[in-house]
């Protein structure tokens, strides 16, 4: 079923796939983020309870949702690396990790800036906030563990196991608002129910989620390309590529 995927275990194939995908996803990301943000900030109506502070939702919810999806993506890459012994999968894992950490930071920071006017505190040790903070630490742990090894294949395996173990935190974050008494409000959009938000407010949110996802994908591809170049720098195709880049720059 996944046989078509195996060709991308070769770093050269993965590199050229990234090259082909980046312009498309970068365009989607730019288009959606600009549209969604302008729409959300300027045109969406104010909330009847939270006034204009609710507009933080347009960056907070995409970041928070995608920080979890990004973790799952990283864990899948780790699993592929461990099961099929792909070097490229570990490269993808470590390319994704800092992007995920940045997105988690955005979710936490915008959450704090939203919590201050609404709850009266930048931070509370609430189940949702704490589990999201643990997610940030998991990302940092994966990066730190990977950097601690000189042999990058070993590093990939160790960090990969850590990434997989950390997956247990994702459902904890997701269900934290139901399992515990919490200050954090429940889900705004769920797959099963009607969204708990007016349509004029919902559209910019959905657009920004798509834009943020495309952004994360684009940056991950860029970072994967860099990782491939770093690890394969002795290969003839990389040497050729780097020197042809130089020739292009001189023109």
């Amino acid at each position: 079923m996944f046989m078509w995927l195996h060709q991308y275990a070769k770093t050269e194939a993965a590199y050229s796939l990234c090259n082909r995908l980046i312009p498309w996803f970068a365009a989607i990301s730019m288009g959606c983020l600009v549209t969604g943000t302008v729409w959300g900030l300027l045109f969406a109506p104010s909330d009847y309870q939270q006034g204009d502070a609710f507009r933080i939702i347009y960056i907070h919810v995409p970041a928070a949702m995608l920080s979890m999806s990004t973790y799952i993506a990283m864990a899948v890459a780790a699993l592929v690396g461990l099961v099929w012994q792909w070097r490229t999968a570990f490269m993808a894992m470590i390319a994704i990790a800092p992007v995920g950490a940045a997105v988690t930071f955005i979710a936490l920071f915008t959450g704090a800036a939203w919590g201050k006017p609404m709850w009266g505190a930048w931070w509370v040790w609430d189940a949702r906030l704490t589990s999201e903070l643990i997610l940030l630490f998991l990302y940092c742990g994966v990066i730190a563990l990977y950097c601690a090894f000189d042999d990058k294949q070993q590093a990939g395996k160790a960090a990969g196991v850590m990434a997989l173990v950390g997956v247990v935190n994702v459902p904890v974050i997701h269900f934290s608002v139901q399992w515990w008494n919490t200050l954090h409000q429940g889900a705004t959009i769920t797959r099963l129910d009607k969204p708990a938000i007016a349509t004029q407010m919902l559209w910019p949110l959905l657009i920004n989620i798509v834009g943020m996802a495309a952004f994360i994908f684009t940056i991950s591809c860029v970072r994967l390309k860099n990782e491939i170049i770093r690890r394969e720098q002795r290969r003839p195709w990389v040497q050729q590529l780097v020197h042809s880049n130089e020739a292009k720059n001189e023109l």
Partner: protein
């Protein structure tokens, strides 16, 4: 348009500080990711090229040394 004037837009109904802080920091972090990715590649290319030239110089020096040995 939900706001009547530009000043109202900036004020965000009194929540201006929090809204603009959130969006400012978020987009700064995202911009930083873009720049870091681009810069990392630039440095990598430079290092790889320098290493290639170094290897080339070592090769040249070796052949020259071998030639000198032959003539002596």
């Amino acid at each position: 348009m939900n706001f009547d004037s530009f000043a109202e837009f900036i004020a965000m109904g009194g929540y201006g500080l929090y809204v603009w802080l959130s969006f400012g920091v978020s987009f700064s972090v995202m911009l930083l990711l873009v720049i870091a990715g681009w810069y990392e590649r630039k440095i990598l290319d430079k290092e790889i090229r320098q290493e290639a030239y170094r290897q080339q110089r070592i090769q040249v020096a070796r052949t020259q040394a071998a030639q000198r040995k032959d003539t002596v």
